[in-house]
């Protein structure tokens, strides 16, 4: 088990390096001079050249990459061109907001999605099933900015129950978490349902019934654990996705998170900030996948002990 995790961690080092290399070079070839964007038109060519030299922007790209890499290893991603603050500081300020939003949205989607999926599977084709599946289609197909605005209109402007936007406390989190959570709850519910139905067709479910177990024990003890494997994968991807910035939700609800930083950085050609965001995102995705792997091996002993084919 421990060795399994260490192996996964070691594999993620070259992945991290590869991503940094790729983004660094890609960001270098996209058009648009950051200095020109940073300074206004009336600055002379001389000044621009001097600033470029000062920021080592004229050095060969490889040298700049290794300088970036060296800094990154120390948690130093440079100074944002636009905001004139250390990138690590900016990200460290925005990240807790994103984390709070992502975790609460994920929690909402699991608390709704998993039980809804289970009930739908157990009571297949019933009214309950149709209701939940309709609900999840709505969640998946309604764009977040639209549900966001709708919620703001109903719960803030009409009912005055919740603050419209901003981020000054837990109360501000409720609406965005529900809006964002609902959209992924649909996916989770459908996946839970189909996975559970699939697992319920297995021979060992018949064995469990033939033992004389109650149907609830058959579902909860024998089907659920097996059926969670694909769901866990999606849950992990979803959390890393949310953590790397739910851009639209952050914009609609005015939450100063990582997503907004990244979008602004792209618009301003703010290379250090953009590189920092990408590295952070990569790191989070790797952590998310690693968590999924760990949960996987906890759920399925065949992974824990190798031998996925189930052969002797």
């Amino acid at each position: 088990m421990g060795r399994y995790i260490i192996k996964k961690l070691l594999i993620s080092i070259p992945v991290m390096f590869g991503i940094m290399l790729t983004t660094f070079f890609l960001l270098n070839v996209i058009p648009g001079d950051p200095i020109a964007l940073m300074m206004k038109d009336h600055i002379s060519v001389d000044v621009v050249a001097r600033v470029r030299a000062q920021m080592h922007l004229d050095d060969p790209v490889f040298i700049r990459f290794f300088r970036f890499l060296g800094g990154a290893l120390h948690g130093d991603f440079g100074i944002s061109y636009k905001l004139n603050r250390p990138v690590s500081y900016l990200l460290a300020t925005a990240f807790p907001n994103t984390l709070a939003l992502a975790l609460s949205a994920a929690l909402v989607s699991w608390i709704i999605g998993i039980p809804a999926g289970i009930l739908s599977a157990v009571k297949r084709y019933s009214l309950v099933d149709n209701f939940f599946m309709g609900f999840s289609v709505l969640g998946v197909s309604m764009p977040v900015f639209w549900t966001g605005l709708l919620f703001q209109y109903i719960f803030s402007l009409k009912l005055h129950l919740l603050p419209v936007a901003g981020f000054k406390g837990p109360l501000y989190l409720i609406m965005p978490a529900i809006v964002l959570g609902w959209s992924s709850a649909g996916t989770i519910a459908r996946l839970t349902r189909s996975s559970l139905l699939e697992v319920m067709r297995n021979d060992y479910i018949r064995t469990a019934r033939a033992k004389g177990l109650r149907e609830i024990a058959v579902v909860v003890r024998h089907a659920l654990k097996n059926s969670m494997l694909p769901v866990v994968t999606v849950m992990a991807l979803q959390v890393s996705g949310l953590l790397s910035g739910a851009v639209i939700t952050e914009s609609v609800f005015g939450i100063p998170g990582v997503g907004r930083i990244a979008v602004n950085a792209i618009q301003n050609r703010d290379m250090p900030l953009l590189q920092g965001s990408v590295v952070l995102t990569t790191f989070l995705v790797i952590i998310g996948n690693l968590t999924a792997d760990i949960v996987y091996s906890w759920l399925d002993p065949r992974i824990r002990y190798g031998n996925p084919e189930g052969k002797k």
Binding site: N202, D203, Y204, R206, T207, A208, R209, A210, K211, G212, L213, R214, E215, A217, R221, H222, K225, N226, L299, D300, P301, R302, Y305, N307, G310, K311, K312
Partner: protein, 351 residues
């Protein structure tokens, strides 16, 4: 209903008396009468075989008993008296109390019949603990270990914590047998227990089942498409075809003097090393295919494939006729055959 509810049936003082069982699958294409008026009895401590080509309704018959037929299947008729209680009329709670305790089952695929995410010890002890309330985890573990030993699992204690994927097919089937026997059932239903195993393991498992029957007195309903397995193990045999019982006899009688052309076909297609037909001769096989269960012939269901079919066979389906006269063994356990030939050659049926 069956045509032979005469005195012969009662003699067995049955543990299980299935009468006129009908189970259907209502599919989009129509109704599949998978089990159509099947009567089978199992005496206490008796080993009864059910044999027939794949798809003839053997598994559905056994699943029907315990209410394990899944949607779109449904038991639509008949009765199944087990110790005087009709299993088919029990509610959920009633049938659950019987499953795994009085009647237990083992299945064809030991690879997939165990849950991959629990140890085999957990899975066997779960069966015990769900029926015997108040058995501590530790006591259950001890019983399971004992049972593992009894079914011939080497190093039983260490195997308690093994995961299914760590065991070979033969060991897994032994685990399934241990699970089936842990509550000391009166009837064990074994549905193709050795079909997925190779021949040496098959022989070991069959020997184990015979030993268990001798030592515990558990009655066994052994389902197989393989007459060799049946011959090895059973006292009495039912031959099924297209949802019906075609022939019923004691095992020696069935093999010595089969009366139904279908049974004869099955026997002729058994591989026999060193038998009267040399191993080089191509094996006989019954011509044609198993009929489409939604378009069954009007007369005898086997008539389209039968070498002896007469005009009468296509016209009307024979009932189960007494064939013991034909075989010169009157007065023994019943020998019944769903074939007009049994009537023609014998002293008449029991109609």
């Amino acid at each position: 209903m069956s045509d032979t509810q005469g005195d012969t049936r009662r003699e067995t003082a049955g543990l299980l008396e299935i009468q006129g069982l009908k189970t259907q699958f209502r599919t989009r294409r129509g109704v599949v009468p998978a089990v159509d008026d099947v009567s089978v009895s199992v005496g206490r401590g008796e080993v009864v075989g059910i044999v027939g080509e794949s798809g003839c309704g053997k598994s559905v018959t056994s699943l029907s008993l315990l209410g394990l037929v899944t949607h779109p299947g449904k038991v639509v008729g008949g009765s199944a008296l087990f110790d005087g209680v009709d299993l088919l009329t029990l509610d959920n709670k009633g049938i659950r109390a019987i499953r795994g305790r009085d009647i237990s089952m083992i299945f064809q695929e030991p690879m997939t019949s165990l849950n991959p995410v629990y140890t085999v010890g957990q899975q066997v002890s779960e069966c015990l603990r769900s029926h015997a309330s108040g058995v501590s985890r530790k006591a259950a573990r001890a019983s399971v270990e004992e049972m593992f030993e009894m079914v011939g699992i080497p190093e039983p204690r260490a195997r308690l914590d093994a995961w299914p994927h760590q065991l070979s097919g033969g060991l897994r089937q032994r685990v399934m047998i241990a699970m089936a026997l842990i509550c000391k059932p009166k009837l064990l239903i074994a549905d193709e227990p050795t079909t997925a195993l190779d021949v040496t393991i098959e022989a070991q498992i069959l020997a184990l089942m015979k030993d268990l029957r001798r030592d515990t007195g558990t009655a066994i309903m052994l389902i197989s498409h393989n007459l060799g397995v049946i011959a090895e193990t059973c006292d009495r045999v039912y031959v099924m075809y297209a949802g019906r019982v075609m022939e019923e006899a004691e095992v020696f009688e069935l093999f010595d003097s089969p009366t139904h052309p279908y049974t004869r076909g099955l026997l002729a297609s058994m591989p026999r090393i060193g038998g009267e037909r040399g191993p080089r001769k191509p094996l006989y096989s019954i011509r044609g295919n198993v009929p489409d269960m939604q378009q069954l012939p009007k007369g005898c269901r086997f008539a389209p494939r039968c070498d002896f079919a007469m005009a009468r066979c296509v016209e009307s389906e024979p009932p189960l006729l007494d064939a013991s006269h034909a075989t010169g063994n009157p007065g023994g356990k019943p020998h019944l055959s769903r074939c007009w030939l049994a009537e023609a050659s014998g002293a008449g049926g029991q109609q």
